[in-house]
Symmetry: C2
Subunit: 499 residues, 2 copies
């Protein structure tokens, strides 16, 4: 087994050190049926009635197929999602955590990682302005690591509900109609969490956002008043720091003012945009975050940590135990050594993967300056893209102005140029023009995928499919941006020619 | 950075191939303060106001400290928890997944892994008896991968509630007092989930279990009737297949009969014991699981997958979308290629780490026979331990008979031998005897930890601290069992001598 493990590890390491980087290496696209056929030549993707032990050669061949047909999120022309370009130190830090395979729930099972989590959460809490100075490795750090941003928002809303109704943990919902608020451009974690919490998706009031995607504070005020008038009980507001589509930032200070006035919990969804705090240039986007009650920050997005590395910061972490403790006496024995460091009874999960090691190693390696450079570079590439779009003589039309690390735009066929495509203008498009533009992005993207030359997301904005390029990967150059825009132009023209 | 990444990877690989295995290598125990001091000699555990980039040499030195001071869960005398002895192929499979860093939510971002998840979930579903034959890589597989067993139970209870009240996802709890049932020996995920779901911890009725830890079916019948009489609405029963402390298995057929009669959702918590299904010899312990509605199975426990690898199997997976879908149009665009394979809108999480690759690789490498051997070996070691205890002339006293992969027992000082320590007998101990016995396990364990010679869990059973040895690691030998029992005897005697 050691030989096979080494063979697989060698291929994984080669991938980290020297990932596919040719212009058509973003993906070797294959349909589900093609993938099944390709794997049948090695060990078969399916697990049949009897699974026989395969030879090492067959397993290695399968590993090579897995690599070949996976999407290469390391490639600088993978601009498809709000993660890309994993940091090599983070990847091998993740590996070391997997090798040491333990759970973060207790000091006993994870002595180093318990302290490391405390150190990192304390630092993140200080960056967010929740703490000043103080113990840098506290017994009770200001937060938790969670398996993803949605889960963190779920926990935050439970904390918010618990502050409003401390007995709900014990007696359950009274049927009182609790209501929370998020911008219409906010992440769906809000509604998914409301469903799971038993609040119901209708408990989530979608507050109007402006054309950039930022919540309109006056609309929040009106929505709160409207909810109260309808007999509902507002309890929380989710401010978004970096919306999923346009990367808009809500004005957190204005939201905090409103939350203060109405005694509402302010949760900040900074899954994507939280990393702006690493940058002197861009930190201002989160002004006011220090006034929030909770703040989720996905380090696996812009900072290149592997899936997942989510910090849920909590201003008053002493609430966690009341909300989540089980007091399981087989695990959190008070009579074992240093039990006061155990983190497991402050969260929902029992066994918990070590997500902190990779972040700690990468931070110690790159330093604050390295982290800042990564963020600044991402925004620079987005700035460059936006400038290229503005100077494209109408070939591309910006949908939102944008001020962070993504660009949302459409490709416009020559016969329709110039075309204003801000959300209000989209609403005024003639139906045939709308239909023509709407159909293009999926077709252009399918060409990218089948050729493996790039991956760029698309999604409807104001009902129109538009492109979204996301900059996360420090290896993206202006040459990559030029190339991908050229590809969109080329494939768009080819679509027009073929239709 | 490549050089440093390679240096860290080399140390991680060395750890996988040749982990610490000397008799005192289970842990190099240090207190929190000692750990902080030790790290201060390299880069420091804390992240101070300014984090400067450290040299590669300092990072490598820190990595070596991380390894040195972590608990060696690979060591055959780490018998502390229901995971141990990670499978080397699973570890490097995990590494490959981290290197390819993507999310399991969409076919677009995870083409190979989407099909692999379907293949593995389909196989697990067939093993559990949810499916027979059929498509081995279905578009809609019978389940999900989840970040841990507690989360899976949370999702299962949401599905159960949704079947009872389909509009609760939208309108929230009506305040109707929904009630669920789990044995008094069941996992705390039930109460934690009830709190999060807004049901409240009081919605969880703890049904009496017998002295082995298995639920008493007649007590379940009585509890359901009692809840109805009190005006509550029973909706789900959690059957446990392998309780945390005594590894007891509820009689799932009897539970299924009761659930059928009362139209209750039957969720099986097989986090620990589910792996008995891999063994012809032990599969009978889960007889009736095929009649359940959902079934959670942690492959990161007995099967040696790294944290985490949790399958939540669902008999009727078409319910998932109704329960969890967000229909987010930036991610689950119906107009992209093969969107019908996307799994992300059937679960709560958005981005989701690839947990399937390691399991798929390990299964293809070991085959069904290899998996069966791992399970059978674990139970054999537990059988051997139980036999040693029975033949110890009273030095050790079994607390429960046990029939799976753990042993629960006490060390009995010579002046108290022989002593019956089944739970009923524990209740009849004289207070001074109880106090003397109760104080010993934490002290004996502290000696193990400080010497690094073994790790064995302890927890109260019927109010008395008792040892729990868990067998998961295929490298444990009868010699290891002998050695650890001898250590307990030695440290127990030393405690008596020092007190």
């Amino acid at each position: 087994m050691a030989g096979l493990a080494e063979e697989i590890a060698a291929r994984a390491l080669r991938y980290v050190i020297d990932p596919p980087s040719e212009p058509d290496d973003v993906i070797n696209f294959a349909s589900p049926q093609e993938l099944l056929t390709v794997f049948d030549a090695t060990v078969g993707l399916s697990l049949d009635e009897e699974v026989t032990a395969e030879s090492n050669e067959a397993i290695v061949a399968a590993v090579e197929l897995v690599i070949k047909h996976s999407v290469h999120t390391t490639h600088p022309r993978f601009l498809n999602q709000n993660f890309a370009g994993p940091d090599a130190i983070a990847v091998v830090g993740d590996w070391l955590g997997a090798a040491l395979n333990t759970t973060g729930a207790t000091f006993e099972a994870a002595p180093v990682f318990t302290l490391m989590e405390s150190a990192v959460l304390s630092k993140l809490g200080r960056i967010a302005g929740y703490l000043r100075g103080g113990d840098h490795v506290p017994t009770l750090p200001p937060g938790l690591f969670c398996p993803g941003g949605s889960t963190a928002t779920l926990y935050a809303l439970q904390l918010a509900r618990h502050r409003r109704q401390p007995d709900i943990v014990r007696v359950g919902s009274s049927g009182e109609s609790l209501t929370l608020f998020v911008s219409s451009a906010g992440h769906y974690a809000a509604t998914k969490s409301a469903a799971l919490l038993g609040l119901g998706t209708e408990a989530v009031i979608k507050v109007d956002s402006d054309t950039t995607g930022a919540m309109i504070p006056a609309a929040l005020e009106a929505a709160i008043a409207g909810a109260r008038d309808a007999g509902n009980v507002p309890f929380a507001v989710i401010g978004t720091a970096g919306t999923t589509v346009t990367s808009a930032f809500d004005d957190l200070n204005q939201l905090a003012d409103i939350c203060d006035a109405h005694e509402l919990w302010l949760h900040v969804d900074g899954c994507y945009g939280g990393s702006a705090l690493f940058s002197d240039t861009h930190r201002h986007l989160l002004r006011g975050v220090e006034r929030s009650d909770s703040f989720v920050w996905n380090l696996h997005k812009m900072m290149g940590m592997t899936q997942q590395c989510t910090a849920l910061l909590i201003r008053a972490p002493e609430q966690l135990a009341a909300c989540f403790a089980s007091n399981a006496d087989y695990l959190f024995q008070p009579d074992k050594l240093y039990a006061d460091y155990d983190s497991g009874d402050r969260t929902f999960q029992c066994a918990r993967r070590i997500d902190v090691l990779k972040l700690w190693l990468a931070w110690k390696h790159h330093g604050d300056v390295g982290f800042e450079t990564r963020v600044d570079h991402a925004v620079k590439m987005a700035d460059y893209t936006r400038a290229r779009i503005a100077a494209s003589n109408g070939a591309f039309a910006a949908v939102v102005p944008g001020n962070f690390s993504n660009a949302v735009f459409a490709w416009v066929p020559a016969h329709l140029r110039p075309l204003d495509l801000d959300p209000a203008s989209i609403g005024r498009l003639a139906p045939d023009v709308h239909a023509e533009l709407h159909a293009l992005p999926p077709k252009i993207k399918a060409r990218m995928q089948s050729r493996g030359t790039a991956m760029v997301g698309f999604q409807p904005v104001a009902g129109l499919n538009t492109f979204r390029m996301l900059f996360m990967n420090p290896n993206v150059t202006t040459g990559d941006v030029d190339a991908v825009l050229d590809l969109i132009d080329e494939y768009g023209l080819a679509e027009l020619g073929s239709s």
